[in-house]
């Protein structure tokens, strides 16, 4: 009898030795004369359990983790191939509370299927959205996306349907669809997981966008720091093309769409959409002034749909189940779900896809189990390096674009970085300015010069030199960066700096009243 086992191929599992575990399982099975079918699935997103090995049983998939190669023999001895008890057994995967409490829509197949099996993808609702889209007119597809309330998941939260509508209405002989997979924010990896663990969903979402807007060529711009994502996407594109889901006359329709991977080269600013376009064109990733907007004059001067990985990956289920289905999730004007990445100093870090409206406290304690170090949690940065540090007073604010904006924070790409009480917020604020100085494209002065001056002012402030003046200067500088920068890099670097200064003045050597006065 053949036994099916799953060992993830996600980078985060590989980083804990998943390849070595897979090899040990194959060897041990051979020695015991057992036939084991090893599936290299994506990760379920419970990273403290990686490598998480699953065994198919009559009751469902039984989880064991974290498995080391050394423990493989004892697992076989305990008959784990039949789902038996072992100290590493976590129960049926679907029953693990961390996973069971989630709303997995975009990540519905994550860790479940073989990422490069078209048959697996199709048997789990894959290409249902594309098939539905092929039966609709372009305006009808756009209407579905508008009805869903889907907003750009890269951070800007612009309604995806409106962007598509603009590109669809533009007149041009060539249009493009570009996926921004330059996921440079610390504390985020949902794009990487999608490309490594369910690449066809991104291909399907981009293809639907192409059909809706009349684009025939697409690019996925992936960071060079993600070699596994690049390799998996390239393989998936080849497989999808060979099977007729990409290329000329998709599934026999009149629509054609060609897709390529474009490998980035380690510039954070290329996550800004216009810098990314310059980069794809083979130039320095220097930000363009807007207008013109990329929807009208984008890649090579042509109308271009640009969305983040998660935005595109959310589209197939919207088309398959309808815009209203998706819109029912969430709160306020934040519809649908967000794949939240719980990271940093947290006990149970991982991928949590939930409807908008969950709070940081629920995420950090109910899911995360508190800090990894066991020390009190002091600060949380939400939304990447350009997001604010959220103080405890705001940990009960529902995760929602508008509610966060109201307290001076950003949801961004859904990355949450937890820091315990050993964190020095003045150092983190200094780091934010330093990072901006390293990564600035140099086009506008507030970002290029302001970031360097910011580091200097923070240094003077923390060394105690004429503090009231430095505080005033720092706030003034941040104001200039915020209002005078061309893009979000310079414009949002003040978020972490000012939130650190406002909520943690003691870390800068300031007494609380002084900061309040400033």
């Amino acid at each position: 009898m053949s036994i099916t086992m799953y060992v993830p191929r996600d980078s985060a599992a590989l980083a804990f030795g998943a390849d070595e575990v897979a090899a040990a399982i194959a060897l041990e099975a051979k020695l015991r004369g057992l036939t084991v079918k090893l599936v290299r699935n994506g990760s379920r997103g419970m990273f403290w359990l990686e490598p998480l090995v699953e065994v198919m049983t009559d009751a469902g998939r039984m989880a064991y983790g974290p498995v080391t190669p050394e423990e493989v023999t004892s697992l076989f001895d305990a008959q784990f191939q039949a789902g038996s008890e072992h100290s590493l057994r976590q129960g049926l995967t679907e029953e693990i509370a961390y996973l069971r409490k989630q709303d997995r829509l975009t990540f519905v197949r994550m860790g479940v299927t073989d990422p490069l099996s078209l048959a697996d993808y199709e048997s789990h609702e894959g290409f249902a959205g594309l098939r539905r889209a092929l039966g609709l007119s372009a305006p009808e597809i756009v209407q579905q996306v508008l009805d869903s309330g889907l907003r750009g998941r890269g951070g800007a939260a612009f309604p995806a349907g409106i962007k598509w509508k603009t590109v669809a209405a533009a007149q041009a002989s060539q249009k493009y669809v570009v996926c921004n997979a330059d996921e440079g924010d610390s504390g985020t990896y949902s794009d990487r997981m999608t490309m490594e663990g369910d690449p066809f969903v991104l291909i399907e979402g981009m293809t639907i966008a192409a059909i809706a807007t009349g684009a025939t060529q697409g690019y996925v711009y992936i960071r060079s720091e993600y070699p596994h994502a690049i390799a998996t996407m390239r393989e998936a594109i080849d497989l999808a093309t060979a099977a007729g889901f990409l290329g000329k006359r998709i599934l026999g329709s009149e629509h054609s769409f060609h897709l390529e991977v474009c490998k980035a080269a380690g510039a954070y600013v290329c996550g800004e959409e216009t810098a990314m376009l310059e980069s794809i064109e083979g130039k320095r990733g220097v930000v363009r002034a807007k207008p013109p907007i990329p929807a009208l004059k984008g890649l090579f001067g042509q109308p271009t749909v640009i969305n983040n990985v998660i935005t595109f990956a959310s589209v197939p289920i919207i088309l398959a189940r309808g815009g209203a289905f998706y819109k029912n999730y969430g709160v306020g004007r934040s519809h649908g779900t967000l794949p939240i990445q719980l990271t940093g100093n947290v006990k149970y870090g991982g991928l949590i896809e939930k409807a908008f409206g969950i709070t940081l406290r629920q995420l950090m304690y109910d899911y995360g189990g508190g800090s990894a170090s066991g020390r009190p949690i002091k600060a949380v940065q939400v939304g990447g390096p350009l997001g604010s540090y959220v103080p405890e007073a705001n940990w009960d604010v529902p995760l929602d674009y508008e509610a966060y904006a109201a307290v001076g924070a950003t949801v961004g790409h859904g990355g949450i970085v937890v820091h315990d009480d050993t964190a020095d917020l003045s150092k983190l604020a200094r780091y934010a300015m330093e990072f901006c100085a390293i990564e600035s494209c140099g086009k506008c002065t507030p970002c290029r010069i302001g970031s360097t001056r910011g580091v200097e002012v923070i240094d003077r402030l923390t060394s105690g030199t004429n503090q009231p003046q430095q505080v005033k200067l720092l706030r003034d500088l941040c104001d200039t960066m915020l209002h005078g920068s061309l893009c979000a890099l310079g414009g949002m670097t003040p978020n972490p700096v000012l939130s650190a200064l406002t909520y943690y003045p003691q870390d800068f050597g300031l007494a609380l009243p002084l900061a309040k006065a400033a």
């Binding site: 440079g184 610390s186 504390g187 980069s279 320095r284 970085v417």
Partner: protein, 148 residues
């Protein structure tokens, strides 16, 4: 690789890519993958074949952190120093890595490997590792060196 071999390899790569739209970045990737870095002597050839100025090619090479103009050691360690790794002690790991760097070990900063829930993270010759402390660092580097 000998200088002439490098020059020939680069010529072949340039010819393969020069008709492609936005060819410069893919070409630079190809060269770095094949040679390990982008030799400054190749800038003129690339510029000529792609119909760009030398300044444009040099500008692109130096803009992107990924591209190197100098050869690196046999073993390259990239330590992630972004916030999620800082929250788990990456600065301590970074200091340790810098202290043991030598002519056979290049240590570089990287800003996010996307392993933020298993920090601190690093890449060792393109293989990723999570939850790295100084002991694990020493063990991994020693194993790579003895295998080399």
């Amino acid at each position: 690789m000998a200088t002439e071999t490098i020059h020939h390899a680069i010529e072949v790569l340039v010819c393969a890519k020069k008709e492609m739209p936005g060819a410069l970045l893919p070409l630079l990737h190809d060269i770095q993958d094949a040679v390990g870095y982008i030799p400054s002597e190749s800038v003129g050839l690339i510029a000529q074949e792609l119909n760009l100025s030398r300044a444009e090619v040099h500008g692109v090479i130096t803009f992107y952190h990924h591209f190197r103009s100098e050869p690196v050691a046999q073993t390259v360690v990239q330590v992630c120093r972004a916030e999620a790794c800082q929250a788990m002690g990456s600065e301590h790991l970074w200091a340790h890595a810098c202290a043991v760097a030598d002519c056979n070990l290049t240590v570089e900063s990287v800003y996010c490997l996307g392993l933020c829930s298993s920090s601190p993270a690093m890449a060792l010759n393109d293989k990723v590792h999570a939850r790295v402390d100084t002991d694990k660092f020493d063990r991994l580097v020693a194993a790579t060196r003895s295998a080399a």
